[in-house]
Amino acid sequence: MSEEERAFQERIDRGDKIEPNDWMPDGYRKTLIRQIGQHAHSEIVGQLPEGNWITRAPTLERKAILLAKVQDEAGHGLYLYCAAETLGVSRDELIELLHAGKMKYSSIFNYPTLNWADIGAIGWLVDGAAIMNQVPLQRTSFGPYARAMVRICKEESFHQRQGFDIMMKMARGTQDLRRMAQDALDRYWYPSLMMFGPSDKESVHSAQSMAWKIKINTNDELRQKFVDQTAPQADYLGLKIPDEKLRWNEEKGGYDFSEPDWNEFFEVLKGNGPCNRERLGARIRAWDDGAWVREGLMAHAEKQAIRPAAE
């Protein structure tokens, strides 16, 4: 470890925030770019499964709430791309990497939204898992990322409450609505557990990321915390988590539960999720179809720049 690296690690250990103009190891920069970029992409791609129900939202109030939520997500994408840009990579570069399949987004968005309760389940479970991941990241070592997380977490908990509210209305509604709610839970439970990633035992990057305080908790810790939080909520809703093994373990002070099917996880990562082709295809199409708009705006700005100010 070089002198610089040692000093850098000491700052982190002290709890200092690293700022964009500070010296940092290449690996730190690269890891952060990958992590923040992937998070930004997830916000953008994450608009699509929810967008699938905006035109079919069952009441005007629900439609407005969902629109506001999706707008927030685009906003989160914006902060995060800005945070990544402080590390010397442009938003367009990141987007190109996404479109070329060289950067990922959260696999959860490769699952389809098939009934209205999925919108509730995404808020309750997916945003719930996201918050579980993100709350510790408010204390992450890189300043711009930590500050973006503060703002994002606040909005995400609001979204989670809204999602839970949808689930509650449905779980206490007509027989059809209860069936939708259970169906959504059945489909989103394991993919939500996968959001924390495979057990850290299998991950090579984790130790370094934790030392750098880019990652604060292990995947398994967070997953356990998520299950412990969610299981009683499901009970409260009168819904059944699709896991025969799920039960309270007094001894460990947490729930025992089944692992998700990690083969499925790796298949989805490889591109074989139910919606991978569609999600990425939709983003690429939006980008390509919008090229003339971006070019037009740029051309106009250039014209303005060379016109005399008096005009």
Binding site: I44, Q47, L48, E50, G51, I54, T55, R56, A57, P58, T59, L60, E61, R62, K63, A64, L67, A68, V70, Q71, A74, G75, G77, L78, Y81, R91, W116, I166, K169, M170, G173, T174, D176, L177, A282, R283, R285, A286, W287, D289, G290, A291, W292, V293, R294, E295, G296, L297, M298, A299, H300, A301, K303
Partner: protein
């Protein structure tokens, strides 16, 4: 406190409120179809914001319409349980999104009309109308600023962006005249001091449109031919398809609480 119902027959006021509410609802629906598919992240945010404001306005107008009608229908019954022929929105609002230029031009042409309309409605003899208009007017002023600016920048951008904006204008122009076709409902509303005559809004609209088109280097179409029918329930074929999506859940699961 003045109430419209002292000044005008309920069925006329109901019809007029549906025109406002349905136009906002259908236009908001169209804009919301963009969600996640805009040319840039800033546009995704801006379009979601426009859609959100329009849905909000629709809720205010339709709730009021339901109260005026007095048959127990609220915003959701009116939005989700009427078929196309009972919708009273402008035909322009229901036109498909097309490319981003066509969506933008549609918003600009409607917003340039909505703003003077809402400003005038702030002086309505009915306080409820005036209050809704005051809120909606602030939002619309912001939207119009934005759409005007973008029309100018894309009209006077590349040759492709210019051509697309001109084509959008040519396609949508025949649907703009309907905004100024007053009928008996409008006359009655105007006589009661509740709303301006649509014709009276044309000068302000024309001024805005001509100024923006000039700066955008776009050519105003010659023909003043105007499609009409939306305000009396004769729509284009697009509305039925839009409603089939929008209303699915309420139709498929009647009586459910969401």
């Amino acid at each position: 406190m003045t109430e419209a119902s002292d000044l005008i027959a309920n069925d006329i006021l109901f019809d007029w409120l549906l025109r406002r509410g349905d136009t906002a609802l259908v236009l908001g629906h169209r804009v919301s179809e963009w969600c996640g598919h805009a040319p840039a992240l800033e546009e995704d945010i801006a379009l979601a914001n426009v859609a959100l404001d329009l849905i909000g306005q629709a809720r205010l107008w339709l709730s009021y319409a339901g109260e005026v009608e007095g048959k127990g229908r609220g915003e959701n019954e009116l939005a989700f349980l009427r078929d196309a022929w009972d919708f009273r929105n402008l035909l322009l609002a229901e036109q498909p999104n097309g490319d981003f230029g066509q969506t933008l031009m549609r918003q600009f042409l409607i917003e340039a009309y909505d703003l003077p309309l809402l400003r005038a409605l702030e002086r309505s003899a009915d306080e409820r109308i005036a209050a809704i208009a005051a809120k909606a007017g602030k939002e619309t002023a912001y939207h119009l600023d934005r759409s005007s600016d973008l029309v100018i920048r894309l009209g006077d951008g590349t040759s492709e962006s210019h051509a697309r904006m001109q084509s959008a204008l040519d396609t949508l122009w025949p649907f703009s005249g309907e905004m100024f076709c007053g009928d008996g409902v409008d006359d009655a509303m105007s006589d009661a001091g509740l709303a301006p005559k649509p014709e009276s809004l044309k000068p302000a609209w024309t001024e805005t449109v001509e100024a923006v088109l000039a700066e955008a280097t776009l050519t105003r179409p010659q023909s003043d031919f105007a499609h009409s029918g939306g305000l009396s329930g004769r729509h284009t074929e697009h509305l039925g398809h839009l409603l089939a999506q929008m209303q699915f859940l309420q139709r498929a699961y009647p009586g459910a609480t969401w």
